[in-house]
């Protein structure tokens, strides 16, 4: 899809995230090919695509976690609130606090439930016990986990079930008070019921956060509603409201993917 590019500063304010001819390389390999994509503030975009389509690369470019990969580089622009996240002098720590991330496998940090959620705030300098307790409670409530764990905050977090661990990961991100939340196939290790709970949460959270949700599963993308971006072999093939993409796909590749012919 080649929807118009950046059109002027008037429209800029409406977009939380904007990729302009953004490409990403691992050595010689071009993992993303000139992506043009705009995400409105407080909306939910589902990135759907098969393995190797570049969805995770796109996410990890947004919070610059890809910096950890040797020999990686980019071209084009990737704007957050109108500012290039790859601009010189970007405070990567501040960027990552603004752009939180939930990983594919539910992984609690090796500490208590409380400390998992308090980890991010502590590292940015929150040290008063009262403030931390308040933050932890608020974040766990927002992640719909508070009622299940409020009496055992001092237990090792690994004792939680997989679904609870993934909501804990979400609470951990919310505690840093981000504006954007990236989720990288967050339900790939979960049972259907836990998966539904995460999807419901997304619908609540998109009112206050800009959410990018990566999945390889077209049904999930359809359930999440919002907008859908179909990535294929590093290209953004199609982008639009879920209802449109799933009922009237404009590209043959999208159609094949959502009907299960490829993937």
């Amino acid at each position: 899809m080649r929807e118009g590019r950046y059109e002027g500063s008037a429209s800029r304010a409406n977009f939380k995230i904007e990729a302009i001819d953004f490409s990403y390389f691992y050595g010689e390999l071009r993992a993303l090919k000139k992506i043009n994509l705009r995400v409105r503030k407080n909306s939910l975009v589902t990135i759907m695509g098969p393995t190797g389509s570049g969805k995770t690369t796109f996410l990890r470019a947004l919070n610059r976690l890809n910096d950890l990969v040797d020999n990686s580089s980019h071209s084009g622009k990737l704007l957050l609130d109108g500012e290039d996240v790859y601009a010189k002098g970007t405070d990567v720590g501040a960027l990552r606090r603004k752009v939180g991330m939930v990983f594919a496998l539910p992984t609690p940090l090796p500490m208590t439930i409380f400390e998992n959620v308090a980890y991010g705030p502590r590292k940015k300098g929150v040290s008063s016990r009262a403030a931390l307790e308040e933050l932890v409670e608020r974040s766990l409530k927002a992640a719909a986990l508070w009622d299940e764990v409020k009496d055992r905050l001092d237990m090792p977090a690994r004792q939680l079930s997989g679904g609870q661990q993934q909501r804990l990961a979400l609470a951990r991100v919310l505690a840093v008070e981000p504006e954007v939340i990236l989720l990288d196939e967050p339900t790939s290790g979960l049972d259907p019921i836990s998966t539904l709970r995460i999807e419901e949460l997304m619908n609540q959270l998109k009112r206050s956060y800009t959410i990018i949700f990566v999945t390889h599963n077209p049904q999930q993308a359809a359930r999440l509603q919002g907008e859908v971006a179909f990535f294929y072999l590093g290209e953004l093939v199609e982008f639009g409201p879920a209802a449109e993409v799933f009922t009237r796909p404009r590209d043959k590749r999208t159609e094949d993917y959502i009907t299960g012919k490829v993937g």
Partner: protein, 295 residues
Amino acid sequence: MNPRAESLVSKERVVRQVNLRKEKAAVTLLSFAALITAAVLVFVFVYIMARGLAAIDLEFLLSSPVKMGREGGIFPAIVGTLVLTAVSILVAAPLGVGAAVFLTEYTREGWFSKVVRLGTESLAGIPSIIFGLFGFSFFVIYLGMGWSILAGALTLACMILPTIVRTSEEAIKSVPSIYREISLALGASRWQTVTGVVLPQAAPGIATGIVLAIGRSIGETAAVIFTAGSSLRVPHSLLDPVRTLPVHFYILAREGISSRNAYGTAAVLLVAVLLVDFVAHFVVGRLFRGRGGER
């Protein structure tokens, strides 16, 4: 059944029997090897203890040697060993763990880390007497420390440094990288990530390496005999010379001063080293596991 199929079946049976016999032979030989290994340890332990225990009592542990160690106890040597080991660990542990953190968390795999790793590996293979010679000419003579705790401890530190770097590196590398990613993605800095998730997770492995290095320090003879001296007095400062247990044992035995006291010293040394190894393997792991941490 036709004769050909019948012969195939019987052939299969023979093969199975041969395999079974091979299996039995292997189990016998391997268990024999394991048995001998265990027996050697038991034999050495019993042999030294049988000869040494007779010399050991509280008096022996807590009094100074008389007549070059023919009579009296080994108290100064116990103090010397403890102090020398403690100082060497205090020097080598922060350096070694620091180097390991730098190599694993702060450098990408490249020529620099390769050179440092090659260096530490070769350092680990150098015989301890070479360290003794180096310590003697560098710390004792060139830096003018004389035979002293300081010179001996620094020499020991050089010797155990590679062990600590290697074990710490392994421990740090075994921390799953997802923990680092989670920490960094929450906006933590590299250093916050190292102190917040990496080191706590690597701590049991690092501690085991340090305890094993303590064991090596306690038992080391060649590296300290040239550098810490062989004084029989209780030291009062880091610049005083000391005699360690292995050096005491060596001198008693080599110069035929008292084989009874030599075995007594050896027994104390052996128990100390075994105790340290025991701590390394059983206590350290349990200690850390109890702290809400997990592996």
